[in-house]
Protein backbone atom coordinates (compact mmCIF):
# COMPACT_ATOMS: atom_id res chain seq x y z
CA UNK A 1 0.00 0.00 0.00
CA UNK A 2 2.86 2.35 0.82
CA UNK A 3 4.34 1.72 -2.63
CA UNK A 4 0.96 2.43 -4.21
CA UNK A 5 0.58 5.75 -2.43
CA UNK A 6 4.20 6.62 -3.10
CA UNK A 7 3.79 6.04 -6.84
CA UNK A 8 0.55 8.02 -6.85
CA UNK A 9 2.18 10.97 -5.10
CA UNK A 10 5.25 10.84 -7.31
CA UNK A 11 3.19 10.90 -10.52
CA UNK A 12 0.95 13.62 -9.20
CA UNK A 13 3.78 15.87 -8.13
CA UNK A 14 5.57 15.30 -11.44
CA UNK A 15 2.41 16.31 -13.30
CA UNK A 16 1.83 19.36 -11.13
CA UNK A 17 5.42 20.58 -10.79
CA UNK A 18 6.23 20.38 -14.44
CA UNK A 19 3.34 22.81 -14.56
CA UNK A 20 2.36 22.64 -18.19
CA UNK A 21 0.35 19.43 -18.05
CA UNK A 22 -2.84 20.40 -16.28
CA UNK A 23 -2.75 23.93 -17.59
CA UNK A 24 -2.34 22.81 -21.19
CA UNK A 25 -5.18 20.32 -20.95
CA UNK A 26 -7.54 22.90 -19.49
CA UNK A 27 -6.43 25.48 -22.05
CA UNK A 28 -7.14 23.05 -24.87
CA UNK A 29 -10.51 22.14 -23.34
CA UNK A 30 -11.62 25.76 -23.09
CA UNK A 31 -10.38 26.68 -26.57
CA UNK A 32 -12.01 23.65 -28.20
CA UNK A 33 -15.37 24.55 -26.67
CA UNK A 34 -14.99 28.22 -27.56
CA UNK A 35 -14.39 27.31 -31.22
CA UNK A 36 -17.89 25.88 -31.62
CA UNK A 37 -19.91 29.12 -31.37
CA UNK A 38 -17.78 30.44 -34.24
CA UNK A 39 -18.49 27.32 -36.25
CA UNK A 40 -22.21 26.85 -35.67
CA UNK A 41 -23.17 30.47 -34.98
CA UNK A 42 -23.87 32.18 -31.64
CA UNK A 43 -27.67 31.59 -31.41
CA UNK A 44 -28.37 30.61 -27.77
CA UNK A 45 -30.98 27.96 -28.60
CA UNK A 46 -28.61 26.10 -30.95
CA UNK A 47 -25.78 26.25 -28.41
CA UNK A 48 -28.08 25.16 -25.61
CA UNK A 49 -29.18 22.19 -27.69
CA UNK A 50 -25.68 20.93 -28.57
CA UNK A 51 -23.73 22.40 -25.63
CA UNK A 52 -23.48 19.25 -23.53
CA UNK A 53 -22.27 17.22 -26.49
CA UNK A 54 -19.66 19.84 -27.36
CA UNK A 55 -18.31 19.91 -23.81
CA UNK A 56 -18.16 16.12 -23.60
CA UNK A 57 -16.39 15.77 -26.95
CA UNK A 58 -13.92 18.50 -26.00
CA UNK A 59 -13.27 16.71 -22.69
CA UNK A 60 -12.57 13.46 -24.57
CA UNK A 61 -10.11 15.18 -26.86
CA UNK A 62 -8.41 16.95 -23.96
CA UNK A 63 -8.06 13.66 -22.09
CA UNK A 64 -6.70 12.03 -25.25
CA UNK A 65 -4.13 14.80 -25.56
CA UNK A 66 -2.64 14.03 -22.15
CA UNK A 67 -2.55 10.24 -22.53
CA UNK A 68 0.84 9.91 -24.19
CA UNK A 69 2.35 11.31 -20.98
CA UNK A 70 0.96 8.47 -18.89
CA UNK A 71 3.74 5.93 -19.55
CA UNK A 72 5.92 7.48 -22.24
CA UNK A 73 8.48 9.30 -20.03
CA UNK A 74 8.84 6.32 -17.69
CA UNK A 75 9.21 4.00 -20.68
CA UNK A 76 11.95 6.17 -22.16
CA UNK A 77 14.08 6.51 -19.01
CA UNK A 78 13.67 2.93 -17.77
CA UNK A 79 11.42 3.64 -14.76
CA UNK A 80 8.89 1.24 -16.15
CA UNK A 81 11.36 -1.65 -16.00
CA UNK A 82 11.94 -0.91 -12.32
CA UNK A 83 8.20 -0.76 -11.71
CA UNK A 84 7.75 -4.13 -13.37
CA UNK A 85 10.49 -5.59 -11.15
CA UNK A 86 9.21 -4.03 -7.92
CA UNK A 87 7.09 -5.89 -5.38
CA UNK A 88 4.05 -3.81 -6.29
CA UNK A 89 1.97 -5.75 -8.86
CA UNK A 90 2.01 -4.01 -12.23
CA UNK A 91 -1.80 -3.89 -12.21
CA UNK A 92 -1.74 -1.78 -9.04
CA UNK A 93 1.03 0.38 -10.43
CA UNK A 94 -1.19 1.08 -13.46
CA UNK A 95 -4.05 1.90 -11.11
CA UNK A 96 -1.88 4.35 -9.16
CA UNK A 97 -0.74 6.04 -12.35
CA UNK A 98 -4.31 6.26 -13.64
CA UNK A 99 -5.45 7.77 -10.35
CA UNK A 100 -2.71 10.39 -10.53
CA UNK A 101 -3.58 11.04 -14.18
CA UNK A 102 -7.22 11.52 -13.24
CA UNK A 103 -6.44 13.97 -10.44
CA UNK A 104 -4.14 15.93 -12.76
CA UNK A 105 -6.47 16.02 -15.80
CA UNK A 106 -9.94 14.47 -15.35
CA UNK A 107 -10.78 16.25 -12.12
CA UNK A 108 -9.73 19.70 -13.43
CA UNK A 109 -11.79 19.05 -16.57
CA UNK A 110 -14.86 18.32 -14.46
CA UNK A 111 -14.21 21.39 -12.28
CA UNK A 112 -13.89 23.65 -15.33
CA UNK A 113 -17.03 22.35 -17.03
CA UNK A 114 -19.60 24.51 -15.12
CA UNK A 115 -17.90 27.68 -16.42
CA UNK A 116 -17.96 26.38 -19.96
CA UNK A 117 -21.61 25.41 -19.49
CA UNK A 118 -22.29 29.13 -18.90
CA UNK A 119 -20.66 29.94 -22.24
CA UNK A 120 -23.06 27.63 -24.09
CA UNK A 121 -26.04 28.76 -22.02
CA UNK A 122 -27.05 25.49 -20.32
CA UNK A 123 -29.79 25.78 -17.69
CA UNK A 124 -28.74 25.38 -14.01
CA UNK A 125 -30.13 21.84 -13.63
CA UNK A 126 -28.21 20.65 -16.66
CA UNK A 127 -25.02 22.27 -15.37
CA UNK A 128 -25.20 20.17 -12.22
CA UNK A 129 -25.81 17.03 -14.29
CA UNK A 130 -22.96 17.90 -16.63
CA UNK A 131 -20.62 18.33 -13.67
CA UNK A 132 -21.77 15.02 -12.15
CA UNK A 133 -21.48 13.16 -15.45
CA UNK A 134 -17.92 14.41 -16.03
CA UNK A 135 -16.98 13.62 -12.46
CA UNK A 136 -18.24 10.05 -12.89
CA UNK A 137 -17.07 9.59 -16.47
CA UNK A 138 -13.54 11.01 -16.50
CA UNK A 139 -12.03 8.14 -14.42
CA UNK A 140 -13.19 5.80 -17.21
CA UNK A 141 -11.39 8.04 -19.72
CA UNK A 142 -8.11 7.74 -17.79
CA UNK A 143 -8.49 3.98 -17.33
CA UNK A 144 -9.50 3.14 -20.91
CA UNK A 145 -6.84 5.53 -22.15
CA UNK A 146 -4.17 3.74 -20.13
CA UNK A 147 -4.75 0.56 -22.16
CA UNK A 148 -4.25 2.38 -25.44
CA UNK A 149 -1.28 4.33 -24.09
CA UNK A 150 0.39 1.11 -22.95
CA UNK A 151 -0.33 -0.63 -26.26
CA UNK A 152 1.12 2.14 -28.39
CA UNK A 153 4.37 2.51 -26.40
CA UNK A 154 7.26 2.71 -28.83
CA UNK A 155 5.08 2.70 -31.94
CA UNK A 156 5.83 4.79 -34.98
CA UNK A 157 3.55 7.87 -35.13
CA UNK A 158 2.39 7.06 -31.63
CA UNK A 159 -0.06 9.94 -31.37
CA UNK A 160 -2.06 8.88 -34.43
CA UNK A 161 -2.14 5.21 -33.42
CA UNK A 162 -3.15 6.18 -29.89
CA UNK A 163 -6.11 8.25 -31.04
CA UNK A 164 -7.21 5.56 -33.50
CA UNK A 165 -7.22 3.02 -30.66
CA UNK A 166 -8.78 5.09 -27.94
CA UNK A 167 -11.53 7.09 -29.62
CA UNK A 168 -13.74 4.09 -30.50
CA UNK A 169 -13.41 2.86 -26.92
CA UNK A 170 -14.45 6.31 -25.63
CA UNK A 171 -17.81 6.13 -27.37
CA UNK A 172 -19.76 4.45 -24.50
CA UNK A 173 -18.86 7.08 -21.85
CA UNK A 174 -19.61 9.78 -24.41
CA UNK A 175 -23.06 8.37 -25.23
CA UNK A 176 -24.15 8.06 -21.61
CA UNK A 177 -22.41 11.24 -20.40
CA UNK A 178 -23.92 13.49 -23.03
CA UNK A 179 -27.19 11.53 -22.81
CA UNK A 180 -27.46 12.31 -19.10
CA UNK A 181 -27.29 16.06 -19.70
CA UNK A 182 -29.74 15.78 -22.59
CA UNK A 183 -32.23 13.86 -20.45
CA UNK A 184 -31.98 16.34 -17.63
CA UNK A 185 -32.45 19.26 -20.04
CA UNK A 186 -35.56 17.53 -21.41
CA UNK A 187 -36.84 17.07 -17.84
CA UNK A 188 -36.69 13.27 -17.93
CA UNK A 189 -34.29 12.84 -15.07
CA UNK A 190 -30.69 11.83 -15.67
CA UNK A 191 -30.52 9.13 -13.01
CA UNK A 192 -30.60 6.14 -15.36
CA UNK A 193 -27.86 7.58 -17.59
CA UNK A 194 -25.67 8.46 -14.62
CA UNK A 195 -26.06 4.97 -13.19
CA UNK A 196 -25.04 3.38 -16.50
CA UNK A 197 -22.10 5.78 -16.64
CA UNK A 198 -21.14 4.58 -13.14
CA UNK A 199 -21.33 1.01 -14.45
CA UNK A 200 -19.04 1.89 -17.38
CA UNK A 201 -16.51 3.45 -15.00
CA UNK A 202 -16.65 0.51 -12.60
CA UNK A 203 -16.22 -1.99 -15.45
CA UNK A 204 -13.23 0.01 -16.69
CA UNK A 205 -11.85 0.05 -13.14
CA UNK A 206 -12.14 -3.72 -12.93
CA UNK A 207 -10.83 -4.63 -16.39
CA UNK A 208 -8.49 -1.92 -17.67
CA UNK A 209 -5.62 -2.33 -15.15
CA UNK A 210 -5.28 -5.98 -16.23
CA UNK A 211 -5.23 -5.12 -19.92
CA UNK A 212 -2.80 -2.22 -19.39
CA UNK A 213 -0.46 -4.37 -17.32
CA UNK A 214 -0.50 -7.09 -19.99
CA UNK A 215 0.28 -4.48 -22.64
CA UNK A 216 3.10 -3.00 -20.53
CA UNK A 217 4.63 -6.44 -19.98
CA UNK A 218 4.79 -7.15 -23.68
CA UNK A 219 6.19 -3.66 -24.31
CA UNK A 220 8.99 -4.29 -21.81
CA UNK A 221 10.03 -7.68 -23.18
Amino acid sequence: MAAFIGLFRRDLSLALRQGGDTGLVIGFFVLAVVLFPFGVGPEPDVLQRIGAGIIWVAALLAALLSLDRLFEADYQDGELDLLALSSLPLELAVLAKCAAHWVATGLPLALTSPFLALLVDLDPGSVATLFASLLIGTPALSLIGSVAAALSLGARRQGVVLSLLVLPLYIPPLIFGAGAVEASAAGNGARAYLLILCAVTLAALALCPWASAAALRQALE
Binding site: V147, L167, I171
Partner: protein, 258 residues
Amino acid sequence: MINWLANPARFMRLSARVVPWCGRAAALALAVGLFWSLVMAPPDYQQGDTVRIMYVHVPAAWMALSVYLFVAVASAVALVWRHPLAEVAAGAAAPVGAAFTFVCLATGSLWGRPMWGAWWVWDARLTSVLILFFLYLGYIALANAFDDPSRGGRAAAVLALVGVVNLPIIKFSVDWWNTLHQPASVMRVGGPKIDISMLAPLLIMALGFSLLFVALLMVRMRTALNERRAMALRLNAGAIPDSRPGRGRALSAHTMVP
Protein backbone atom coordinates in the same frame (compact mmCIF):
# COMPACT_ATOMS: atom_id res chain seq x y z
CA MET B 1 -4.05 -30.47 -32.55
CA ILE B 2 -2.75 -27.07 -31.48
CA ASN B 3 0.79 -28.38 -31.16
CA TRP B 4 0.53 -30.37 -34.35
CA LEU B 5 -0.37 -27.20 -36.24
CA ALA B 6 2.43 -25.18 -34.66
CA ASN B 7 4.90 -26.25 -37.31
CA PRO B 8 4.84 -23.68 -40.16
CA ALA B 9 6.32 -26.13 -42.66
CA ARG B 10 3.56 -28.63 -41.94
CA PHE B 11 0.98 -25.87 -42.32
CA MET B 12 2.47 -24.86 -45.68
CA ARG B 13 2.22 -28.43 -46.99
CA LEU B 14 -1.32 -28.88 -45.71
CA SER B 15 -2.61 -25.52 -46.89
CA ALA B 16 -1.13 -25.94 -50.36
CA ARG B 17 -3.45 -28.90 -50.81
CA VAL B 18 -6.51 -27.41 -49.07
CA VAL B 19 -6.56 -23.92 -50.56
CA PRO B 20 -7.55 -24.82 -54.17
CA TRP B 21 -10.42 -27.03 -53.04
CA CYS B 22 -11.59 -24.53 -50.48
CA GLY B 23 -11.53 -21.79 -53.10
CA ARG B 24 -13.50 -23.87 -55.58
CA ALA B 25 -16.08 -24.82 -52.97
CA ALA B 26 -16.47 -21.15 -52.02
CA ALA B 27 -16.94 -20.16 -55.67
CA LEU B 28 -19.52 -22.91 -56.17
CA ALA B 29 -21.47 -22.06 -53.01
CA LEU B 30 -21.42 -18.34 -53.81
CA ALA B 31 -22.54 -18.97 -57.42
CA VAL B 32 -25.42 -21.21 -56.35
CA GLY B 33 -26.30 -18.92 -53.45
CA LEU B 34 -26.27 -15.76 -55.54
CA PHE B 35 -28.38 -17.28 -58.32
CA TRP B 36 -30.86 -18.71 -55.82
CA SER B 37 -31.13 -15.56 -53.75
CA LEU B 38 -31.11 -12.99 -56.54
CA VAL B 39 -33.24 -14.83 -59.10
CA MET B 40 -35.16 -17.78 -57.64
CA ALA B 41 -36.04 -16.70 -54.10
CA PRO B 42 -39.45 -15.02 -53.75
CA PRO B 43 -39.65 -11.23 -53.21
CA ASP B 44 -40.81 -10.11 -49.78
CA TYR B 45 -44.50 -9.24 -49.46
CA GLN B 46 -43.63 -5.85 -47.95
CA GLN B 47 -40.13 -5.02 -49.13
CA GLY B 48 -40.35 -6.40 -52.66
CA ASP B 49 -37.03 -7.04 -54.32
CA THR B 50 -35.02 -4.93 -51.85
CA VAL B 51 -35.10 -7.91 -49.50
CA ARG B 52 -32.47 -9.52 -51.71
CA ILE B 53 -29.87 -7.22 -50.13
CA MET B 54 -30.34 -9.40 -47.05
CA TYR B 55 -28.61 -12.35 -48.74
CA VAL B 56 -25.35 -10.41 -48.74
CA HIS B 57 -25.90 -8.18 -45.72
CA VAL B 58 -26.72 -10.84 -43.12
CA PRO B 59 -23.90 -13.31 -43.95
CA ALA B 60 -21.45 -10.39 -44.05
CA ALA B 61 -22.61 -9.34 -40.59
CA TRP B 62 -22.26 -12.88 -39.25
CA MET B 63 -18.77 -13.06 -40.72
CA ALA B 64 -17.83 -9.66 -39.28
CA LEU B 65 -18.61 -10.94 -35.79
CA SER B 66 -17.25 -14.46 -36.11
CA VAL B 67 -14.02 -13.30 -37.75
CA TYR B 68 -13.49 -10.91 -34.85
CA LEU B 69 -14.09 -13.79 -32.45
CA PHE B 70 -11.59 -15.83 -34.45
CA VAL B 71 -9.01 -13.02 -34.24
CA ALA B 72 -9.58 -12.75 -30.48
CA VAL B 73 -9.27 -16.50 -29.86
CA ALA B 74 -6.16 -16.72 -32.06
CA SER B 75 -4.71 -13.72 -30.19
CA ALA B 76 -5.36 -15.39 -26.84
CA VAL B 77 -3.68 -18.58 -28.06
CA ALA B 78 -0.75 -16.56 -29.37
CA LEU B 79 -0.37 -14.67 -26.09
CA VAL B 80 -0.77 -17.64 -23.77
CA TRP B 81 1.13 -20.38 -25.61
CA ARG B 82 3.34 -18.25 -27.87
CA HIS B 83 1.86 -20.27 -30.70
CA PRO B 84 3.70 -19.15 -33.86
CA LEU B 85 0.88 -19.80 -36.31
CA ALA B 86 -1.89 -18.31 -34.15
CA GLU B 87 -0.25 -14.89 -34.33
CA VAL B 88 0.06 -15.14 -38.11
CA ALA B 89 -3.57 -16.30 -38.33
CA ALA B 90 -4.87 -13.40 -36.26
CA GLY B 91 -2.93 -10.88 -38.32
CA ALA B 92 -4.07 -12.45 -41.58
CA ALA B 93 -7.74 -12.63 -40.56
CA ALA B 94 -8.15 -9.03 -39.39
CA PRO B 95 -8.15 -7.26 -42.81
CA VAL B 96 -10.58 -9.88 -44.17
CA GLY B 97 -12.85 -9.25 -41.19
CA ALA B 98 -12.60 -5.51 -41.73
CA ALA B 99 -13.67 -6.04 -45.35
CA PHE B 100 -16.69 -8.12 -44.25
CA THR B 101 -17.62 -5.41 -41.75
CA PHE B 102 -17.37 -2.79 -44.47
CA VAL B 103 -19.57 -4.87 -46.81
CA CYS B 104 -22.09 -5.25 -43.98
CA LEU B 105 -22.17 -1.49 -43.32
CA ALA B 106 -22.31 -0.59 -47.02
CA THR B 107 -25.12 -3.01 -47.91
CA GLY B 108 -26.97 -2.01 -44.75
CA SER B 109 -26.73 1.60 -45.81
CA LEU B 110 -28.06 0.77 -49.30
CA TRP B 111 -30.91 -1.16 -47.71
CA GLY B 112 -31.67 1.57 -45.19
CA ARG B 113 -32.21 4.20 -47.85
CA PRO B 114 -35.38 2.65 -49.41
CA MET B 115 -36.67 1.07 -46.17
CA TRP B 116 -36.00 3.70 -43.50
CA GLY B 117 -35.54 6.70 -45.79
CA ALA B 118 -32.01 7.36 -44.56
CA TRP B 119 -28.56 6.13 -45.46
CA TRP B 120 -27.50 6.03 -41.85
CA VAL B 121 -29.34 5.94 -38.54
CA TRP B 122 -27.64 6.31 -35.18
CA ASP B 123 -29.19 3.34 -33.51
CA ALA B 124 -27.42 0.90 -31.24
CA ARG B 125 -26.89 -1.90 -33.76
CA LEU B 126 -25.41 0.33 -36.45
CA THR B 127 -23.25 2.27 -34.00
CA SER B 128 -21.84 -0.85 -32.37
CA VAL B 129 -20.98 -2.39 -35.77
CA LEU B 130 -19.29 0.89 -36.73
CA ILE B 131 -17.22 0.61 -33.53
CA LEU B 132 -16.34 -2.95 -34.56
CA PHE B 133 -15.08 -1.57 -37.88
CA PHE B 134 -12.92 0.99 -36.05
CA LEU B 135 -11.60 -1.76 -33.77
CA TYR B 136 -10.53 -3.72 -36.83
CA LEU B 137 -8.81 -0.60 -38.22
CA GLY B 138 -7.11 0.03 -34.87
CA TYR B 139 -5.95 -3.58 -34.78
CA ILE B 140 -4.44 -3.35 -38.28
CA ALA B 141 -2.83 0.02 -37.55
CA LEU B 142 -1.32 -1.21 -34.28
CA ALA B 143 -0.03 -4.44 -35.81
CA ASN B 144 1.85 -2.41 -38.44
CA ALA B 145 3.02 0.40 -36.17
CA PHE B 146 6.18 -1.23 -34.84
CA ASP B 147 9.57 -1.78 -36.43
CA ASP B 148 9.58 -5.25 -34.90
CA PRO B 149 6.61 -7.14 -36.41
CA SER B 150 6.29 -9.63 -33.55
CA ARG B 151 6.03 -6.74 -31.08
CA GLY B 152 3.19 -5.31 -33.20
CA GLY B 153 1.51 -8.70 -33.27
CA ARG B 154 1.54 -9.00 -29.48
CA ALA B 155 0.29 -5.45 -28.90
CA ALA B 156 -2.51 -6.00 -31.42
CA ALA B 157 -3.38 -9.27 -29.69
CA VAL B 158 -4.00 -7.45 -26.39
CA LEU B 159 -6.15 -4.92 -28.24
CA ALA B 160 -8.17 -7.72 -29.87
CA LEU B 161 -8.94 -9.17 -26.44
CA VAL B 162 -9.99 -5.76 -25.11
CA GLY B 163 -12.33 -5.33 -28.09
CA VAL B 164 -14.21 -8.56 -27.31
CA VAL B 165 -16.31 -6.46 -24.89
CA ASN B 166 -18.01 -5.07 -27.99
CA LEU B 167 -19.22 -8.42 -29.37
CA PRO B 168 -22.06 -9.12 -26.90
CA ILE B 169 -23.07 -5.46 -27.18
CA ILE B 170 -23.50 -5.88 -30.95
CA LYS B 171 -25.32 -9.20 -30.63
CA PHE B 172 -27.79 -8.04 -28.01
CA SER B 173 -28.07 -4.37 -29.00
CA VAL B 174 -31.37 -5.09 -30.78
CA ASP B 175 -32.80 -6.63 -27.60
CA TRP B 176 -31.45 -4.15 -25.05
CA TRP B 177 -32.37 -0.99 -26.90
CA ASN B 178 -35.41 -0.06 -28.89
CA THR B 179 -33.71 0.01 -32.25
CA LEU B 180 -34.88 0.66 -35.77
CA HIS B 181 -32.84 -2.36 -36.81
CA GLN B 182 -34.97 -5.50 -36.59
CA PRO B 183 -34.23 -8.12 -33.93
CA ALA B 184 -32.66 -11.48 -34.75
CA SER B 185 -34.85 -13.71 -36.91
CA VAL B 186 -32.56 -16.66 -37.64
CA MET B 187 -30.41 -17.37 -34.59
CA ARG B 188 -33.09 -17.08 -31.93
CA VAL B 189 -34.59 -19.17 -29.18
CA GLY B 190 -37.45 -21.17 -30.68
CA GLY B 191 -35.96 -21.61 -34.15
CA PRO B 192 -35.74 -19.37 -37.19
CA LYS B 193 -38.67 -17.06 -37.89
CA ILE B 194 -38.00 -16.93 -41.60
CA ASP B 195 -39.56 -18.99 -44.38
CA ILE B 196 -37.57 -21.91 -45.77
CA SER B 197 -37.65 -20.47 -49.31
CA MET B 198 -35.59 -17.54 -48.00
CA LEU B 199 -33.67 -19.38 -45.28
CA ALA B 200 -32.12 -21.94 -47.65
CA PRO B 201 -30.38 -19.45 -49.99
CA LEU B 202 -29.36 -17.38 -46.95
CA LEU B 203 -27.63 -20.38 -45.37
CA ILE B 204 -25.93 -21.28 -48.66
CA MET B 205 -24.63 -17.71 -48.91
CA ALA B 206 -23.38 -17.96 -45.32
CA LEU B 207 -21.60 -21.21 -46.19
CA GLY B 208 -20.05 -19.54 -49.26
CA PHE B 209 -18.86 -16.57 -47.19
CA SER B 210 -17.34 -18.90 -44.58
CA LEU B 211 -15.51 -20.95 -47.21
CA LEU B 212 -14.30 -17.74 -48.83
CA PHE B 213 -12.96 -16.61 -45.48
CA VAL B 214 -11.11 -19.87 -44.89
CA ALA B 215 -9.59 -19.76 -48.38
CA LEU B 216 -8.55 -16.11 -48.06
CA LEU B 217 -7.20 -16.72 -44.57
CA MET B 218 -5.00 -19.57 -45.75
CA VAL B 219 -3.71 -17.63 -48.76
CA ARG B 220 -2.91 -14.65 -46.55
CA MET B 221 -1.22 -16.83 -43.93
CA ARG B 222 0.90 -18.48 -46.62
CA THR B 223 1.90 -15.06 -47.93
CA ALA B 224 2.78 -13.86 -44.44
CA LEU B 225 4.91 -16.94 -43.75
CA ASN B 226 6.69 -16.61 -47.10
CA GLU B 227 7.26 -12.93 -46.36
CA ARG B 228 8.81 -13.79 -43.00
CA ARG B 229 11.06 -16.34 -44.58
CA ALA B 230 12.15 -13.89 -47.26
CA MET B 231 12.91 -11.29 -44.61
CA ALA B 232 14.91 -13.79 -42.55
CA LEU B 233 16.89 -14.72 -45.64
CA ARG B 234 17.58 -11.09 -46.44
CA LEU B 235 18.62 -10.26 -42.88
CA ASN B 236 20.85 -13.28 -42.76
CA ALA B 237 22.42 -12.38 -46.09
CA GLY B 238 23.08 -8.85 -44.88
CA ALA B 239 24.64 -10.04 -41.62
CA ILE B 240 27.47 -11.88 -43.34
CA PRO B 241 30.19 -9.53 -44.58
CA ASP B 242 30.63 -10.46 -48.22
CA SER B 243 34.17 -9.77 -49.30
CA ARG B 244 33.42 -11.53 -52.56
CA PRO B 245 30.13 -10.11 -53.88
CA GLY B 246 27.34 -12.67 -54.38
CA ARG B 247 29.23 -15.43 -52.66
CA GLY B 248 28.28 -14.85 -49.00
CA ARG B 249 24.68 -14.23 -50.01
CA ALA B 250 24.26 -17.56 -51.74
CA LEU B 251 25.91 -19.43 -48.91
CA SER B 252 23.85 -17.86 -46.14
CA ALA B 253 20.61 -18.41 -48.01
CA HIS B 254 21.43 -22.10 -48.09
CA THR B 255 22.29 -22.36 -44.45
CA MET B 256 19.10 -20.51 -43.47
CA VAL B 257 16.50 -22.54 -45.34
CA PRO B 258 15.49 -25.54 -43.26
